[in-house]
Symmetry: C2
Subunit: 568 residues, 2 copies
């Protein structure tokens, strides 16, 4: 009996060795890592659940990705591709299941082409926000990219393929993509749009091509590995103004959403408008004040009020930007003011000139309280204006660090890395109709659940398109505290289930929820499974990723599986 087990183990080890040898042959031994420290680092997650890969391979080219997929298919080993592995709050670099060969695409970081006239870039998966932003500025091009708040070192492509959203008029990111190059599970290379025709001139200018439009298949999916993508860039606007609007009363936000919706819909507000609650402002640049909170994991109400007042914030802050010629921006500014007048919300407009004046005043005021406050406000304003124009900033990740013990690390905000820094964070991202009533209803649904579980609700509502809001509810927790971690997981499940049941469905989910996406075994997921069966019958690429039935199986395996690392 024991002999049989030994035999099996030996065979298993032999198969693993053969696989790794082939992987090394594909990308070079220097770019394959199997040591415990590396696997632990890639397996670490801001979520409560970590997942160690079998090994990490770092290909340098499309051809090496093809070779890796071919090798993996031959050995029957699943692969998990990540662009930079910084999918904070949704699983970071972790696969849905254990023992997958992690393909880290971050060495593939070529900006293949920037077309200054037609305003687009062709990029590889490893190109970061910082990299493209700097490239455009260094070349002196009057082009801006859309930014997210996920930090300078995150991959543009990774976020786009997860259908993330940004801040600018190009913030509905998938609408500004044209032409993908994809490695399929059988090792074939697929060019979408017109890209599969020799000499095509509009591959990166007209996404649809001719015939079925396939790009959507390769977003939030495991149907292929995208190795190149055309993304549109915004011509630099002559004039940009940021507006910040403060709403005092908690339920005052309903009227503000209804007042701004017509402007978002008629094109006056072309950019993504973000609405954050007071905690999103309070948490900027600082961690939870444990010393003052008397052992509670939530901010005591009096302290929260005091911090909100010190930050000069209302219950809600609305943040957006106006773009165009000076005349266009002036017209938009007047329209915003007029729309908000009946709501009693206070609105301020920021531009470079105003910020420069305030910065000067801040310096003159010196090291007194008002001087410090003004300088902090200037720094925030600069970061916001920068984001509007495609300059990424790590400071908007502060929420992830809120419950982490100790001060913000010195690497914050430029090198912010919540997974490395052992932050605990879970995101729940329901979509809701762009209506005040829905904002209030969702808040009323989520807030008591957060409270019950002992967490403060961090929430933003983003005007992701002209008709819908993308909410992000953040559970931020102390990963070093097992009890708090368990509470965070319970809170996540309670809120996730509640928003699903209420019809506020998530636009994106973390690995821990992949299995929960198909409660009705419906025809959509059957269709996706049939397509998966046609393109990747052996389930080589990222099994379980947006694949509920497989995720369910993996989840059952996990409950008794030695591959899994603990929650720390």
């Amino acid at each position: 009996m024991l002999d049989i087990v030994d035999d099996e183990l030996e065979q298993c080890a032999a198969r693993r060795l053969a696989l790794l040898a082939a992987v090394r042959a594909a990308v070079g031994a220097d770019h394959v890592q199997t040591d415990g420290m590396t696997l632990e680092r890639y397996g670490r997650s801001t979520a409560a659940r970590s997942m160690r890969p079998l090994a990490v391979a770092r290909p340098a080219s499309h051809e090496e990705v093809v070779a890796l997929v071919t090798v993996a298919a031959a050995h029957g080993c699943p692969v998990y591709p990540v662009s930079s592995g910084k999918n904070w709050g949704y699983g970071d670099a972790c696969a849905v299941g254990p023992g997958q060969l992690l393909i880290d695409l971050s060495r593939m970081n070529r900006i293949v082409h920037v077309d200054a006239e037609l305003a687009y870039a062709v990029i590889e998966p490893g190109v970061t926000q910082q990299q493209l932003s700097a490239h455009l500025r260094e070349r002196g091009l009057a082009l801006w990219m859309d930014c997210t708040g996920a930090g300078p070192d995150t991959s543009l492509m990774g976020n786009i393929l997860e259908r993330g959203f940004g801040h600018s008029p190009y913030g509905n990111r998938l609408q500004h993509v044209s032409g993908m190059r994809v490695v399929l599970a059988n090792g074939e290379t697929l060019h979408t749009g017109f890209g599969h025709y020799q000499g095509a001139r509009a591959t990166h200018l007209f996404p649809y091509g001719v015939g079925p439009f396939l790009d959507g298949l390769f977003t939030q999916s495991n149907l292929g590995i995208v190795t190149e993508l055309g993304m549109w860039l915004m011509p630099a606007a002559a004039c940009v103004q940021h507006f910040l609007c403060s709403v005092e009363a908690p339920d005052g936000i309903g009227a503000v959403v209804d007042a701004l919706r017509p402007l978002r819909m008629d094109g006056t507000l072309r950019s993504i408008v973000h609405i954050g609650n007071d905690l999103r402002v309070i948490s900027g640049g600082r961690v939870f004040p444990r010393a003052l909170a008397g052992g509670m994991s939530r901010l005591p109400e009096a302290l929260r009020t005091q911090m909100r007042e010190a930050a000069g914030a209302g219950a809600w802050t609305v943040s957006g930007a106006l773009y165009g010629s000076a005349a266009q921006v002036a017209a938009a500014r007047a329209a915003v003011r007029q729309a908000l007048r009946p709501t009693r919300a206070r609105v301020r407009f920021l531009d470079e000139r105003k910020l420069a004046l305030a910065a000067l005043a801040g310096r003159l005021l010196g090291d007194c309280g008002p001087g410090r406050r003004l300088r902090a406000q200037v720094a925030l304003g600069e970061a916001l204006l920068g984001m509007n124009c495609g300059v990424p900033n790590g400071r908007f990740l502060a929420g992830a660090y809120w419950r982490r013990r100790g001060a913000l690390p010195p690497s914050f905000p430029d090198g912010a890395d919540p997974a490395r820094d052992q932050c605990g964070m879970l995101w729940i991202s329901p979509i809701l109709p762009m209506r005040g009533a829905d904002v209030l209803a969702l808040h009323a649904l989520a807030e008591p659940l957060f409270r019950e579980h002992g967490f403060d609700l961090f929430v933003t509502f983003s005007m992701i398109n002209e008709r819908a809001l993308g909410a992000v509810l953040t559970i931020t927790f102390d990963k070093q505290d097992d009890e708090e971690t368990r509470r965070a997981q319970a809170c996540y499940r309670a809120v996730f289930d509640a928003v699903m049941a209420a019809g506020y469905l998530p636009y994106r989910v973390g690995n821990q929820s992949m299995a929960a996406l198909d409660p009705q075994q419906d025809s959509y997921w059957k269709t996706v499974a049939r397509i998966r069966g046609a393109l990747d019958p052996a389930g080589i690429i990222a099994p379980g990723r947006y694949e509920p039935a497989v995720a369910q199986n993996l989840s059952l395996q996990l409950q008794s599986n030695a591959f899994v690392t603990g929650t720390r």
Copy 2:
């Protein structure tokens, strides 16, 4: 030997009868037609190639479509769904192959829902442009739909699923669709986006849902039959101005395109801008002047110049609209004027007030030449302004009637139906980068081929998005003239091959070109075929439609097949 043939024929007839009985049971006998006149009418095409269906079934509901697909699958009979069958110039109501059961969805014409607050409609396939436009006006809603020039009686959904484009800021139509209901070949019903979740609140507000985004699969494809679709509506703008810009010199259009591109890209021009050559203007409201052309099938140069001058047109006319508040439109108008100044193009702006004044002047001038000309211009201006605000008009189909014998029929323009009226028309629609150089290059490629084949080149270039132009090259021919029909087909092939070879690929093709879409047997079409195999292994829905390999086989069959009707 003859006995065997007789046996086969008998079996074949028996199978046909059994199928038709089942089809009648599915939709009611009144809604199944097999008579020769009906089949001839549905088989008639503006293209040179007609295709008679086996029978026509007209379901009234989603459930009846499911029943039809199930019946057809059980009998192994392919079905060909059309919304209203008015796919002018690209195959009209004709399937790619003969003997298919035509499913005419025009009885499914419910406007299921209009949401006035969030500005969208949910429609069935049979809803026409005229119907939705009238519905919105009758209900007094301040919402506009996007219009195409294909005429009032054409289906909105049909055009959207073929990825047609319109005139307004919502003219890039696929970007304004959210939530499809689809009948699959196995009879299952698929809801895309969030629609497959019970109680989902944002199905028609946020298209992507969660997981792979499938909507693109059901455009330009045969992967399912869409029976319901959410389409976004535009909030009525406070102010709309149409602009018409006349470019005298044939090669002057290059500079104009380059001058307008930045305005299209920065959002000053949010609507689709259309650029037409002189023939597009000359052909408005009249047919080819045979009596003056001395037997030629092209306009003699002197006559063309004379007609152009009489119409007050340049070599090119640029036509677009500005939307917004009065201040926004004023700012945009100034930007357009300034951009065009260096190009020497003349630009005029039209709005309702100006048109009312001109109409008054036209009436006062009476029946003299200038009076008639002014009234004609007013009528055109009204039609253009109407299209901008979602009021369809048949007059933009005039080109289809250009070479048809006799005067324009009395049904023109309101009940324009080029297929019924025996018009001959073929469209070739290459996409090109939005650059003057590409416009001139494409024109230089196509014009000599049209000339060689004895046709005048009708061409429009539409700013279909911010970076690409959709060209439509029209071959309009006399279908009653066999020689001219053969020349038209030869011209089509020559131009189609030339644009493909030059990398100006079509965004959409007629049935006669489905087989030519995959010259390289590339991975894109292999992927589409695999998906087709997974969703419709028996090839029940519209075989050959955007399915090059199957279209190729059908084409070979056609060459010796009795099902095909002649070219008349």
